[in-house]
Symmetry: C2
Subunit: 221 residues, 2 copies
DNA sequence: AAATATATGTGAAAAAAATCACTATGCTCC
DNA sequence: GGAGCATAGTGATTTTTTTCACATATATTT
């Protein structure tokens, strides 16, 4: 109902709700209350209700939420009611992993092609998709409508590839190259993934945990 | 100086500062001001200064920050002054990718072994590390001090493996299995990675972008 | 059919995070 | 070595996010 902008933090929480609801759905659970969902997810019920309310009332007082309805509605918000054509630039292990992962269980993403600069890989097939030479990318983009490009290449060539992609009309880039891709212009959206960031946060918390332990030991516990 | 707890959001931003500083360092830039760094990173200078101040004054008025000092200091905060022994559970594409990625350029992480349930992979070598049978995991853990376990397996067996890991004394789990691992107890830290969450946020923003475009077209622009 | 229990939606309050704006310090250049 | 400039550190303010708490609506039970 509201014209008010949806806060970014809320958007970032939606995929997690979506996962949990999908899980409930596959287990045959048809109804869920914010309280029960909050217990399972480890967040507050209040936050769940407030988040969902940004998009309108999906629930019913005294009853809760219908799992399927809520799942579908959040899916729509996230754009999961459409199919996206995906290409993957970089057919190394990570490219393969993403190809597997993305095609998995028909989630609305279709990997159409992979590209690599290694001539030995060109012509091979991954998950029903062909690996092309990176040199064929401009031509491919001219001939095939493509929604999302995934970058699973080392950082060195990454920004050049981005230029090619943007010139070829790509509107969304999922970037795993270890370099931040700045927004080339307002006609493109970019999601920069830095796996190592998560690993470093983990290390921080491990350090913290160990320090805590030491403190306890010092006090003879 | 402070005993005050560091906000989680600040911790999550540190790895990004760390990356940018590492990049500056490798390009021979020895000094940087919060203003200049803010321009490069696309955040406010104020936020940078405030974030860093949680850990004490690393800068100097009228000069800025010494890139190397700041890099090293943030590294220490993140626990990058130590080496971590890593094992990878799941030697598929993602496991391989993480093995490559984690060992890269001697970043303080050493991949010691991989484990897989596929007998055909057992005995092979990835990045100087041997692939073991998953059945050997308990024994391995008894004999080798290990800091971090990475889970790159499908979600089905994931929680069982976590149990084995925790019983074996693992304190940190970096989980790529498509299921949230709840904190088994307060002696373990877990970082759940859901690649698809980022993809869905990207899709949301792509949808938004396209809707915006449509609106503009309707108004004849 | 009434009574009771449940659980949403939401305005208000509280807490957290980000930004502002200024002070004081040390650098740089003349 | 002094003047002016640049910039960190930081208290105050603003904005954003989260949580609280309750009125209302629906379901369920007796």
């Amino acid at each position: 109902m509201s014209i008010k902008r949806i806060p970014q933090v809320v958007i970032q929480r939606l995929p997690r709700y979506y996962r949990y609801l999908g899980d409930l759905l596959s287990r045959g659970i048809t109804r869920i209350s914010s309280g029960e969902l909050s217990r399972r997810m480890g967040v507050t019920a209040s936050q769940i209700r407030q988040d969902l309310n940004h998009f309108g009332g999906f629930g019913q007082q005294g009853y809760g939420y219908n799992v399927e309805t809520l799942y579908v509605e959040i899916g729509k918000i996230l754009g999961q009611d459409q199919e996206y054509r995906v290409i993957i630039i970089g057919a190394g292990n990570l490219g393969h992993a993403v190809a597997n992962y993305t095609n998995y269980k028909k989630q609305g993403y279709r990997v159409m092609a992979l590209f690599d600069s290694n001539k030995e890989l060109v012509g091979k097939v991954v998950q029903d998709s062909l690996i092309y030479s990176i040199e064929d990318l401009p031509e491919y983009l001219r001939e095939h409508r493509t929604d999302i490009a995934v970058l699973t290449i080392p950082k060195d060539g990454a920004l050049d590839v981005v230029e090619t992609l943007v010139e070829g009309g790509i509107q969304a880039i999922w970037n795993f190259a270890s370099v931040d891709v700045p927004l080339p212009n307002s006609q493109v959206v970019v999601e920069n993934v830095h796996l190592s960031d998560g690993l470093r946060v983990l290390t921080y918390r491990l350090k913290e945990l160990r320090e805590q332990k030491e403190h306890l030991q010092e006090r003879g516990l």
